[in-house]
């Protein structure tokens, strides 16, 4: 597999009243084309900061992010970030949200494409609803559909399902896997949920406490659909948790 994303010697800090606060301390890793990489770490370790820098929203202090061999210095519609709090526009309907990123299509086509993706994520019948009329799980579906509509090469997901209850979170993971099996994307997922990482990812990177660096990398060698209760999966989970100091 060719390398899709290469993160090299990344450092990032923020100025505070007490002086410079280092958050990311020399992070390097590569993501292959079509690979699903999960980044787990203790809360507050700088996972979101790392993802924002990789997605091009915050410039790194040092180091670089290259995608397909060329330097990525800003956000692009080929690489969609799904932020932790969600970013579905509350003033637009589901359909208008999904059509938001569609440029250069004929107007009738745009609606058709939007409704197609609404159906894929299970929002059929809610195209004309406003976000505040939807449940938390449906909002996440809308967020995912809006990202998928523009056919991005890369999805950056920041704790996408952590605000959902356990049952809904599990259901969303299964749906995400189903969609990814149909439309191939490279995914970088940031999460604090080790089980979620094992369920979804091909590889797990474990971050240290702040200032963060990559402490360990685990391959997840299980074929889909995965059974998280299998001894091998449980063993992997314990190994990852041990790295996290739990």
């Amino acid at each position: 597999m060719p390398t899709k994303i290469a993160v090299k010697d990344l450092r990032k800090g923020f100025p505070t009243e007490q002086g410079h606060l280092p958050v990311i301390d020399d992070v390097s890793f590569e993501v292959a084309d079509g690979e699903f990489v999960a980044i787990v770490g203790p809360s507050g370790c700088g996972k979101s900061t790392l993802l924002n820098v990789i997605a091009g929203f915050d410039p790194p202090d040092r180091g670089s992010v290259t995608v397909d061999g060329s330097l990525a210095t800003g956000p692009s519609s080929k690489r969609i970030l799904m932020p932790q709090q969600g970013s579905v526009f509350p003033w637009l309907t589901v359909q208008q949200n999904l059509m938001f990123g569609l440029n250069g299509h004929a107007p009738g086509n745009r609606e058709q494409i939007a409704d197609h993706y609404a159906a894929i994520v299970g929002l059929k019948g809610f195209e004309m609803s406003y976000p505040h009329e939807l449940s938390g799980g449906m909002l996440k579906r809308a967020e995912l559909a809006r990202a998928l509509v523009v056919k991005p090469e890369v999805l950056y997901m920041d704790e996408p399902f952590s605000a959902l209850d356990a049952l809904m979170s599990l259901r969303m993971r299964k749906e995400l896997l189903r969609i990814l099996a149909e439309e191939r994307h490279t995914v970088v997922l940031v999460t604090h949920d080790v089980e979620e990482a094992i369920h979804l990812a091909d590889r797990i990177l474990v971050l240290s406490a702040r200032p963060t660096r990559i402490q360990m990398s685990f391959e997840v060698p299980f074929a889909h659909p995965r059974t998280l209760s299998s001894p091998a999966a449980q063993g992997l989970k314990e190994a990852v948790l041990r790295e996290l100091g739990v």
């Binding site: 692009s76 003033w91 938001f100």
Partner: protein, 252 residues
């Protein structure tokens, strides 16, 4: 609770006030201060003659003209100041200084510049309602959450789409709040302006009723009508808050 139960207490308070008022006038035997019933008959008489409708129409016309003029300047200006840092840092200090000056203080200047015709009150209404609307619109742009702007940036949309689909709808609830404040102030100001310079309008009705023979029944009648119209104007603005595209902001 039913709607009737909600309005019942406030109706009761008004009824008590009217009774106290009526008793006070009757017991003191005042020759000038009217009873509530005299206010009603005096006002009905004015309505029959038609001057009441002319005055209401004149006041509403002035408010509508000055207010719409203010909206058409304040909204684009507020969006610009909210979006462009340089525009904000240049103009905001000036506006913050002009804003606390009472519109009444502008009356001499308005008369000097525009004379005693319709232009003076329209100018005063414009001055009084434009600042709160600029301030609200600017604040609306400043409070757009970064995650929404980043999402728009992520999808790489055109400037036109960014404004039409993100900035304007995100600020619209704040614009409506600004319009409510602006129209409220405009209605306060038109009455004050008409008392000083003009020969028509509800403000003129009040001051003229007093000057031409102590007709305090018409003074109070005019005040009540001003209150009722002000309430209806605010009610109209509140209807805008019910629009589906802005309900997300008021829902919580």
């Amino acid at each position: 609770m039913s709607k009737l139960q909600l309005v019942l207490p406030s109706l009761a308070v008004i009824a008590v006030l009217l009774t106290v008022w009526w008793l006070a006038v009757v017991l003191t035997g005042s020759a000038i201060f009217p009873t509530p019933w005299q206010v009603v008959t005096g006002t009905l008489e004015l309505a029959r003659e038609g001057t009441l409708w002319d005055d209401i129409g004149a006041s509403l016309m002035r408010v509508a003209t000055g207010f719409l003029l203010a909206v058409s300047i304040a909204v684009p200006l507020g969006l610009w100041m909210g979006w462009v840092k340089g525009a904000f840092s240049t103009l905001n200090p000036l506006f913050q200084m002009l804003r606390p000056i009472s519109p009444i203080a502008w009356i001499p200047i308005a008369i000097l510049w525009f004379g005693v015709g319709n232009e003076s009150p329209i100018f005063l209404i414009f001055i009084s309602s434009v600042f709160p609307m600029v301030v609200q619109t600017t604040a609306g742009v400043h409070t757009i959450e970064r995650r929404y702007l980043r999402a728009a940036e992520n999808f790489g949309v055109s400037r036109y789409t960014l404004f039409r689909r993100v900035i304007i709808p995100a600020v619209l609830p704040q614009i409506i709040v600004g319009m409510r404040i602006g129209l409220g102030v405009a209605w306060l100001v038109v009455v004050a302006a008409e008392m000083i310079a003009l020969r028509s309008g509800l403000g003129y009705l009040i001051i003229d009723s007093r000057n031409a023979g102590n007709r305090y029944d018409l003074v109070i009648g005019g005040m009540v009508i001003i209150g009722i119209i002000g309430l209806s104007l605010d009610g109209m603005m509140r209807l805008l808050e019910g629009l589906r595209t802005v309900r997300w902001r008021y829902a919580h």
